[in-house]
Each structure stands twice: as structure tokens, then as C-alpha cells.
Amino acid sequence: MSATIALHAGSLEHAETASTREPAWVRVVLISIALTFFAVFLLLPLGTVFAEGLRKGWAAYVAALVNDDAWDAIKLTLITAAIAVPLNLVFGVAAAWSIAKFEFPGKRLLITFIDLPFSVSPVISGLIYVLLFGAQGWFGPWLQEHDIRIIFAVPGIVLATIFVTFPFVARELIPLMEAQGSEEEEAAVVLGASGWQVFWYTTLPNIKWGLLYGVILCNARAMGEFGAVSVVSGHIRGQTNTMPLYVEILYNEYNYAAAFAVASLLALLAIVTLALKTLVERQTRRQLQEIIEPSGE
């Protein structure tokens, strides 16, 4: 069973004996390749961000972050995430509840649809909203008449962000809730619990780690999304710049130190995300273990 659960691999250790061990030189070579690749491809870019950000000294670094444009970008990024994440959270819970706890035809198709945004290029994720709400789009004329701006404005950025982060929570919860089954919920219903009571007292405590995991990933992507947001933003400084877009502008203006200073904030976000993710993975794995092989039996 454990194989079918989309468990996030972590340190799945493998005990070994002499007969299943490679010669020492093979191990050394493989580990060296992995370490080199890791250093060059992962560690170096991460380090570069901070090194370049601080190249002109601490004062320049702070100055790059503490100014109106940077602050506007940070604010818009936070606002966008604050709208997109809760919406996708509610959606994810609703979708997982209906898919994992009920039997109905077309379930697999629905799951495929939910996964769609992941397979769409970020650029196209932005384009589709331009086609809907842009000046030449379906609703363009009507929006212009009523003086409502969606594209090249904040609503477009929020919409594109919702789209690209759409599946995160749902796809974490669906396999988790399917693995947990419905017996606890049924027990609660038999004992007289109402709909919300069933959810609050039995389901939610069981999915809280998976939920948190989905939210963390969803948030990281919402704050870091570049391609989709770039298409719908129009790059109006101070109005429609999120942090990643602001990084691009600074970089294209050859203001490298400032670009990397802002980028370092996003890199910090990534590091915090990974740390939280590792933590939550440990919790969910423990929880899943309890379902698969309850202790004391």
C-alpha cells in the first residue's frame, strides 16, 4: 500500500548487506558526482544570490530593499498570496472531500482537470486571462465600458497566480484522504455528529499536516510566480510589480546588486519553504505510518 500513496520521499533508508553493496570506488564516484552536481547546480546559484546582493555592502543592500518601489512590490506580492492561497485552500479541501470520500463516475477525469494548470506553461497561464479580459478579449469591451481594469492591473495578477497555484492543496490532500478512508467520519456520523462537526473533529485533525504542506508549496509558488504574472502585469512600477517582476526590472536596468538584494528575499522564502516542508514531511510520514501499520498490534 505504501507504494501507491504519494508519499514525499525523504530519507528512505536502505539497509544493506555485503551481497548488495557496490565496490567502494563505485560508491565514492557516485557520491562525488552527486555532491559536485549539488554544489554546482543547487548550492552555487543559491549562494550567488546572496553574494551578489551583498556585493556593494550592507548599506546598499538595505537601501535596495527599503524604498518605495521595493516596498510596493513586497506589498503586492503579499496581497496576491493572501488572496490566492486561501481561495485555493478552500477549493483544495472541497475537491479532496468530494473526491476522496465519495464514489461517483468521472472521478479520474476530474482529478486530471485539477492537475491541468501544472502542465500549462506559465506564459500561457497569463495569456488565457489576457484573452478573456484584455482589450481585445471576450469581456474586454464590456470591462472598458465600465472602466474596470483586470489585465495590466492587480486583479489580473491575482487571477494568474490563482491559476498557477490552483492544484497544490488539492493534490496533496486527495491521496492523503483516500489513504485515510472514511471509517472515522462514519463513526462520527453514527455517534450523532453533524456535517461540520464531522469535518472539524475528525477530518481536519487528520489532514492538518498535509494541508499545511499544500499551503506552504502553494504560498511559495504564489509569491514566486514570474511568467504568468509577467504576461498580465504590464510592468507598471509601483502599481503592478510583484517582487519577481521587480527583480527583472532591476536586472534589466543593470542594477544587479539591487536585483539580487530583492532576489535574496525570495531566496530566503525558498529556504524557509524547504525547511518547513522537510519538517512537515516528517510529520505526515509518521501519520501515514500509523495508518499503515498501527503500533501496538
Binding site: 463513526a187 462520527a188 450523532g192 473533529y201 500509523e290 501496538g296
Partner: protein, 355 residues
């Protein structure tokens, strides 16, 4: 409270899970639904609880038609096969759950809830586990907590789905005796599902044997064991030897042997006969009339009885069980010829087997 199950049918796609099932469970009885896996017994239990709905038929609880009633309003206690304890709640909170989710005006004061939980935990003899969590309990303890949780809301009916299914053999035996005692104390009308005939016969007041969605027989453990109504019941309850033969002139002809039947047994024609291993008399030699001529193949003489495997006629194996001392007195060993005289034969016309 009594339960009346009237003409329940249920279909899953092309599969007929329950086919016109009717059962009456009188108030205060402990009834076992017994059958092989996939026979529909769990579906029936879930329909009684309201966890599932029948395509047709009625569930009458205490004289009222409850067929359309939601599970919340049926006031049943349900013990799930895998207990379904709330993982994240302490044992005491698990038991208190049903009391705490009641609407405010019906809810007991917290102190009363605590008192009641304590009493229930004492009833299942696990009050010392109140602050533990389900994952820290053994299977047998979880089962008893599940029962206490179900009883907390004062159910009119207690339904148990394979209550001992997930336990090892020793705990099973203990727990089943304990369940019987508990039922004698609290006398709540109870229905439990099992595929284990020993369990059904030992614990229940009455056994309902179900096969392929249909009721085969309802009766006390003695009556279904001693007087099976159908070949399926004869075969399913306890080990049994099966013979194919013909009934003629009050005799069952098996191979070259003829066995005398009681006056009421069997009508002429092809028939199947069942004889339990302990219902044979053994006589050394092949001279006996009205008996099966057989040869001893193997003897396992461990414990209170001897299990004897014999070959009859064309090689069909027959199992016989005899008191160990009685067998020793006969002075028989492997390879010897013996005559087998059944004390009790149950005969069914062959076409009954197909049903």
C-alpha cells in the same frame, strides 16, 4: 428495541448484494449474521445502521419504519471492523465524542459527561487507559474502547461489524466470551457480523446464515448446527463429510454400500448426504451391514480426540473424529479395514445443492 428487516434488496451495479432478505431480531437478543466473505452480511449491517440504503424493503426499529431515517437519527451504536477510533483524541475523548456533539439543549453538563465516560471505561475494564491515545493500545483494547464509545450514547441497538476479525486467535476467544457476558449485563439488542462459524455459535442467541445475498437459515446455534436447512448450511457450519449417492427404499446408496435412513429422511433420487466427523461409529473389519467399508489412511492422535483419515471405495477421503481412548480400545492402526456406521445423516436432493 426490536429490529425487523423486511424484504431488503440491494444491488451494486450488476452484483446482487442482498436479495429479498427478511429477519426479525427480538428485543434484547444477540444475533449473529454468519456467512462467507462477500455474502452481503456487512452490507445488511450497514443498511440497518443507515450507513447505506437498500434499493427496496424496510428496516423497522421498535415498530417504526426507519428506512428513510438518516443514520444520525437512528440511535444505533456501530462498532467498526477496524474500530475507527479517532486517532488524534485521547481514549476518554473518543468515548465522550457522541455525548459532546449533541445539540446544546440535549447535551449533558461536562461533569456528567466525565462521570459517564468513567463508568463506561470501567464497564469495559479499561478505565486506566483514559488518557492514552488509540495508537498506544493493543487491538483487543481498541475493540473494547470502540464498544464503549458506541454504548456512550445509549443506543437502542448495537451493531458490530466483524468485531473480532482483526485480532489474533487467543484475544479473540477471550473477547468473545467477554462480549457475551457484557450483553447479558446490559441486554441491548445486538447484531454482529462474522464469517467465523465458531464465533457465531458460541456467542449468539440466534444465528442467521447468509449466502450470496440470501438468508439460508435462521435459528438457535444448536438448531442450525444439528438441523441445517440447506446443503450450504450443513457445509458451512463445522467440518463435514459430503457424499454423493442415490436414495432408494429408505436407503442411501454410496458406491457399493447402502446406509439406512430414518423414515422421514430423503425422497428417492440423486442426493447429497452430510455426516459430521464425530457422528461415525467405527467397527473393525468389513463385515458390518449398513456401513461404509473403508481403510485407515492416517491417524493424528493429539489432544482429547483422534482424527482419523479413511479412504472409502474408489479412494474418497472421509474424516472421522473419535475420543482418543475409544479409538485406542479399538486397537486399529493405519492400513486396517474398518466399517463406518453413521449415527446421523442429513440428506438433500442433489438439485438443492445448486440453489
Amino acid at each position: 428495541m426490536s429490529i425487523a428487516i423486511r424484504n431488503i434488496s440491494k444491488q451494486f451495479g450488476a452484483f446482487k448484494a442482498l436479495d429479498d432478505v427478511s429477519i426479525d431480531v427480538p428485543s434484547g437478543e444477540l444475533v449473529a449474521l454468519l456467512g462467507p466473505s462477500g455474502c452481503g452480511k456487512t452490507t445488511l449491517l450497514r443498511i440497518i445502521a443507515g450507513l447505506d440504503f437498500a434499493d427496496s424493503g424496510q428496516i423497522v426499529l421498535d415498530g417504526d419504519d426507519a428506512s428513510a431515517r438518516h443514520v444520525r437519527e437512528r440511535h444505533v451504536g456501530f462498532v467498526f471492523q477496524h474500530y475507527a477510533l479517532f486517532r488524534h483524541m485521547s481514549i476518554a475523548d473518543n468515548v465522550a465524542f457522541g455525548l459532546r456533539v449533541k445539540p446544546r439543549r440535549e447535551r449533558l453538563a461536562e461533569a456528567d459527561i466525565k462521570r459517564r465516560v468513567k463508568r463506561l471505561l470501567e464497564l469495559v475494564q479499561l478505565d486506566w487507559l483514559a488518557d492514552r491515545y488509540p495508537s498506544q493500545l493493543s487491538g483487543g483494547q481498541r475493540q473494547r474502547i470502540a464498544l464503549a464509545r458506541a454504548l456512550a450514547v445509549d443506543p437502542k441497538v448495537l451493531l458490530l461489524d466483524e468485531p473480532f476479525g482483526a485480532l489474533d486467535a487467543k484475544v479473540r476467544k477471550e473477547l468473545r466470551r467477554w462480549l457475551r457476558q457484557l450483553h447479558d449485563e446490559i441486554h441491548v439488542t445486538s447484531v454482529f457480523v462474522t464469517h467465523d462459524q465458531e464465533e457465531a455459535l458460541e456467542v449468539s442467541d440466534r444465528v442467521v446464515v447468509i449466502n450470496k445475498g440470501k438468508v439460508e437459515q435462521i435459528g438457535t446455534p444448536e438448531s442450525v448446527y444439528d438441523h441445517p436447512a440447506t446443503p450450504f448450511v450443513a457445509n458451512f457450519l463445522g467440518s463435514v463429510n459430503l457424499f454423493h449417492g442415490r436414495v432408494e427404499d429408505g436407503h442411501l446408496h454410496v458406491g457399493n454400500d447402502a446406509l439406512a435412513l430414518g423414515a422421514s429422511e430423503g425422497s428417492d433420487g440423486k442426493a447429497v448426504a452430510f455426516v459430521r466427523p464425530h457422528e461415525f461409529d467405527l467397527v473393525p473389519g468389513w463385515d458390518e451391514q449398513g456401513a461404509l467399508a473403508a481403510r485407515i489412511v492416517r491417524v493424528v492422535s493429539v489432544g482429547p480426540s483422534a482424527q482419523i483419515e479413511l479412504a472409502h471405495g474408489d479412494g474418497k477421503l472421509i474424516e472421522v473424529s473419535l475420543g482418543r481412548d475409544a479409538f485406542r480400545l479399538l486397537g486399529l492402526s493405519e492400513g486396517d479395514r474398518v466399517s463406518l456406521r453413521p449415527r446421523h445423516i442429513r440428506v438433500f436432493p442433489t438439485d438443492a445443492l445448486a440453489a
